[in-house]
Amino acid sequence: MSRFGTSNRVPAARRGGWRDLRRLLLYTVKRLLALFVTVVVGVYLTIVIANMGGQVDDLRRVQIRSEAAEVVRADPAFQDLSSQERNEMIQRQVALEVERLRLDEPFLVRSVDYLQRALRLDLGRAEQMHSDLGSRAVRDIIVERLPATLLLFGTANLLIFFVSVFVALWLSRRYGSALDRSVVALAPTSAAPAWFYGIFLILLFAFVAPLLPAGGMVAVPPPEGRWAYALSMVRHLLLPVSAMLLSQIFISIYSWRTFFLIHSSEDYVEMARAKGLPSRLIERRYILRPTLAPIVTSFLLMLIGLWSGAIILEQVFNWPGLGSLLFQAIGHRDTPVIIGGVVIFAYLLAATVFLLDILYAVLDPRVRLAGGRQ
C-alpha cells in the first residue's frame, strides 16, 4: 500500500512540477511579449511626438534654408556673386543637408527605420549633436554622460532612500513625538523641486559665503592627482545632493513612516507585541518582511529613474548629465539621441517590471500564478 501510495504520489508531483513549469514559461512568454509590445508602442510614440508627426521636417527645411542663406550672406567671399548664383549656392547647400538628414524620404519610412533600429539597440549616429569628445555615435554620446548622472543621482537617491526608510521605521515607533511632528510639518516643503532649493543653495554657499562651487562636476581645470580629483568631485556634489535631499527627504520619510505605521497596526503585529516579542524582532519579521515587496519595487524604480537625470537641476548646477543631454537633444530635434535615451530607459523599465514580477513571488509567498494554489 505504501509502495503503491508512494509510486502514485511521485508521478503526481512530477506532473504538478511540469504543469507549474509550463505555466511559468507561458506566463514568462506572455509577460515578455506584453512588455515588448509596450516598449514598441512607447518608442514609436516617442518617435512620432519628437517629430510632431513629421511636421518637424518642414521646420527643419526652413531652418536649413535660413542657415544656408545667412552663411552665404555673411561670407565676404560670396559677396560679388549675383543673386542668382547666390541662390543656386544656397540651394546646393540645402540639398546636401536635406540628403544628409534624409529629409527627402517620407517621415513614415524614416520612423519605421528609427523604430526597428532602436529596438535592435542600434542607436546609430546623431544628426546634429556630438559627444563632448567629438564622437557622433549616439552610444558614445549617452555613455559619456552616464557616469556623471549615476554619480549625482545615485548618491542623492540612495542617500534619500536609505535614510528615509530607516528614519521612517524609527519614527514609526515614535509616533506623535516632537521629531515625528516636525517631519509631518516639513513634508510640504517637498512641493518645491530640487532645482528651486539649488538656486538658494548656490546663492548662499557659492555667492554670499563662497564656500562651495556654484556648478560643474569638478574644479577648473580638473586637479591632476586622483585623490585631489575625487575630493574636488565631492565638493561639487555637495550642493546638488543637498538640494535633492532638501527637496525629497521629508516627503519620503513621511510616506514611508505612514506606510510603516499602517503595517504596524496589523493584527499579527499587535499579536506579536502581545506575545512580548522584542521590538527589533517585530520590526524585522512582522513589519519589514511583509513590506519588502513595495520597498524593493520602490528601490528598483528609483534605480532605473537615475537614467533620466533631471533636466532643470542639471542646468542649474551646470552638471554634465543625461538630463541636460536630453534637453539639448530636444532643442536640436536630434531624433536619434532622443530615441536612444528613451529606448534604453524603456528596456530598463521593462526588465525591471519583469524582475519585480519574479521577485514578488520570491518575497511574498501569497503571490502565485493565476490558476495555482492561492
Binding site: 518642414d58 567671399a77 556673386l81 541662390n87 569628445l133 560643474g216 554634465p320
Partner: protein, 846 residues
Amino acid sequence: MRRLLLASAALLLLGVVVVALRPPDSLSSTTGEQGQVVDESALAERRGALVDRVVFTGEDEPGRVTGLIETGAQQVFTQGISSPAVFRRLRDSLVIDYDLSYGTSSELTLNPAGPELADGSLNPFHVPAIREALNRLVDRDYIAQELYGGLAEPRFLPLSTAFPDYARLADVARELELRYAHDPQAASEVIHREMEALGAQFRDGQWRYAGEPVRLTVLIRTEDERRLVGDYVANLLEGLGFTVERRYRTAEEASRIWIATDPQAGEWHLYTGSWITIEIQRDQAEAFSFYYTPRGRAEPLWQAYDSAPAFDELADRLLRRDYRSWEERQSMMARALELAMQDSSRIWLVDQLNASARASNVEVAVDLAGGLSGSALWPYTLRYSGRVGGQMVFGTPGLLTEPWNPVAGSNWIFDRMIMRATQDPVALPDPFTGLYRPQRIVEAEVTVQEDVTVERTLDWLSVATKERIEVPEAAWIDWDGEAGWFVSVGEKYDEPVTARTKVRIRYDDALFEQRWHDGSRLSLADFVVPWALSFERADEASPLYDVAHLPTFEAFQRHFRGWHIVSRNPLVIEVYSDQIFPDAETLVARRAPTPQPWHALALGIFAERNGELAFSSNKADRLRVDWMSLVAGPSVPILARYLERARERGAHPYPGVLDELLDEEEIAARYRALADWHDQRGHFWIGNGPFLLDSVHPVEGSLVLERFDDFPDLADKWLGFSRPAIPELELGGPLVVEAVSGETAAGRAASFELAVTLAGEPYPLESIEGVQFLLFDGRGTLVERGEAEPHANGRWRIELPRPALASLGIGANSLEVAVTSRRVALPAFASHVFATVPPGGMEAAP
C-alpha cells in the same frame, strides 16, 4: 552597534564639513594669481601674451555671471549679455566692468503683398506711404530706453549705426533721422489719407474694408525683448483703429510662417525681425538689394518685394559695385538710403547692444560688432590692469561644441574664439574699424585695373592702377590630382590670362624663424600644403574629394587667377584675382596665404585618404566615420597611429610638390616634435599664436591655454587697441542769434565751438576723419551743411554764414554735428539749439 552607526554618521558629517570648509579649489587657483605689477619698461620687454594661463569653462547661464565674477571664480564671460536685468546688475557692481558691442539689429518686417490678400482682406502695408509713415509712428527712443533697458541705440536706416558706412554718411543719416523722427500725429494723418485712398472706412474708431474690420496679424517673437516690441507696435496699431491679432511664436515656429508661406496668403502682416552680424562690415552696399528687393533671397517674401524702379536699379548697381569712384559710391549710397526709407519694407528700430562682462581689473580688446567672442585681438591684449602674468578663468556657453580641425572643423563662435588664441594670422582686423593691419606682413602692393575702385586707408600697403594686369605663366592656377602637382597658367591656357587685381605680399624677414607650438620652425611647405589640400578636396578623383567643399571652392575658383611665389626667403607671394573689396586692406588680408602646420595636416590627410576620418561633418556622415578632431575623442588615437607610420616611413602627403621644399631632416624633426607634443599633451592641435592649447577636458567642460614662450612679438604690440577711442563732444555757442535779411547777407555771423576729447584729453587731430555740421530751421528743414575747421588742440569751430542765418527765419533752430574718427567706426553726435531773433531783438531782450 547603534553607537558605531552614530559614530560613522558623525564622521561622515565631519568629513563633509571639512570638504566644504576647505579653501575652494576653483578660487584658490585663480585669485592671488593676477600676475605681477610692472612698469612700462618691463612691459616692453615681455614677448607674447600678457597673461600666463587662460582657463575656459562651460557656463551658459548669463544670470550667474555677476556672482561668478564677484566671487573671483571667473574673470571674463565670453557671451554678450543682452538681458536688461542682468545688465543692470553688471552696471551696479563695483568689481565688474563691461564692453559694449553692436552686432544685433531689430526691425519690423512688413508683408508687402496686396493691397488685397488671397482671402479678400486688405493689407495696408502694401502701400509704401503707409509703411513709410510707420517710421514716424514708432518711438525708437522709447524702445531703446524702456523696452531694451538702455541696451540699444535707435536705428532708422538699413546701415548699422556702428559700422563705417554709417559714419561715412553721418550727415545724410542725421538728416534722414530728423526727417523721420517720432511724430505720431503726422504718421496718423498719412495713414488715414492712404487708407481712405484704398477704399477703407474709418467708423467708430475702427478701420473697415468691404464691411469687415481691417485685421492685422502681428507675429511676435517670444525669446527676447522683441516680445515687448511686438506688443508695443500692436498697441500703436490698435490705437490707429486696426484690429490686431497677436501671434506669439518662437524662432522656429515663426519662420514657418513669415519665411515659408506666401505673403499673399496673409498669414501675417508684421513680424518682429532681427539680424545678427558678428564682424564689422566695412561695405554694406549690398544691404539694399538684400533687404528690399527680390535679389535678397529666393523665399516668397523676398519675391513679393516690388521696389520702385529707380531704387531697384540703384540697389543692383551697389550690389555689383558698379561705380567709377568713391565719391560716386557715396552719392549712390546717400540716395539709396533716402529711397530705402521711402520704400520701408522694413522699419528699422534699434541696434541692440551686448555687454561683454569682465572683472574690472581685466583689460581686453572687444570687437565693436562681434563682442569679445568675435574679437581677433583678445589673445594679444588680455591682461590684468598694470600687470603681467597670472591666470584667468573665462566662462563660455559653448566649449568643444563640434570637433576641432583646421580644415572644416567647428565653426561655433565660442570654439573659434579659443582657436584664434592659438593661431597667428598674417593680418588682423582692427576691432573698432574692421580695417586690417599687418601682423606677419612687412608690406603689400595692390594693383587694380583702371575701372576698379579700391580705397586705401592705412600706409602699410600701396595701391596702384594698371590698364591690364597679366598673370605670369609660371603662376599656379589649378591642381593636377593625377600628377600631384600644381598646374601653371602657361600649362593651362594658350592665351595670356589677365586679372582685375594683383596683390603682392612681402612677409616678415624672420617669418621662417618663427616656431609652431611643438617647437618646429615654419617653412614654405606650411603655405603650400593648405593650398594643395583645398584643390584636392574639390577633385572628384581624389579620396579627399568632399562634396560639401565644392560650393566654397567653386566661388573661389570663379575669381582666382593665379598664385606665384616670387621669392622664398624673404617670402614674397603674388596673388591674382578678379574679386574686389572696396578696402585695399581687406583685399590683401583676404588674398594673403596663411600658413598651417603641414605635419599636423598630413595626419588628417592620411586618415581621410584611408577612409578612417573626415575633415568635414558632411563627409563624415556620408562615410559614417568620425568627424576629425585634433583635440580629443576617437580621432586622436587614429591620428597617433598615422603619425607613427609617417615617422617610420618619413612620409609626407604631397610627394610631387613637397619633395622640392622638404628634406628628410625637416620631415623627421617635424614628426618628432609632434610626437613629443602628443605624448606630453595628448592632442594634435598646434598653431603659432600667443597661446598654446595645454590641456583639454571635454567631459568636465574645461580647457587650458598656456602662454607660448617662443612667440616673437612684443607683448605691448596691440595694446593700443584695448579701448575704443570714441570721440566725446561738447558743443557750445550762442543761445540767441540776431537774424539778418537775405539781401544784406555777407560775411560770417555766428560762431560755435566744438570740443572733441577722449578721456578728458584733446582728441588727436590726425585721428579725426571729418567734422560735419547740419543746420536745421524750426520746421526741421535742412538749411545748411558744411565742415567745421580745427583751430586749436581738440577744438573745432563752426562758422555759420550770414546767408544761412538769413534763411532760418525767426524762431528755434538746431545745429547738429557729426564727428567721424579714423580710430573707431562709431560716429559721435552733438546738437545745439539756438534761437534767431529779429534784428535789434537782442538789445530788446531783458
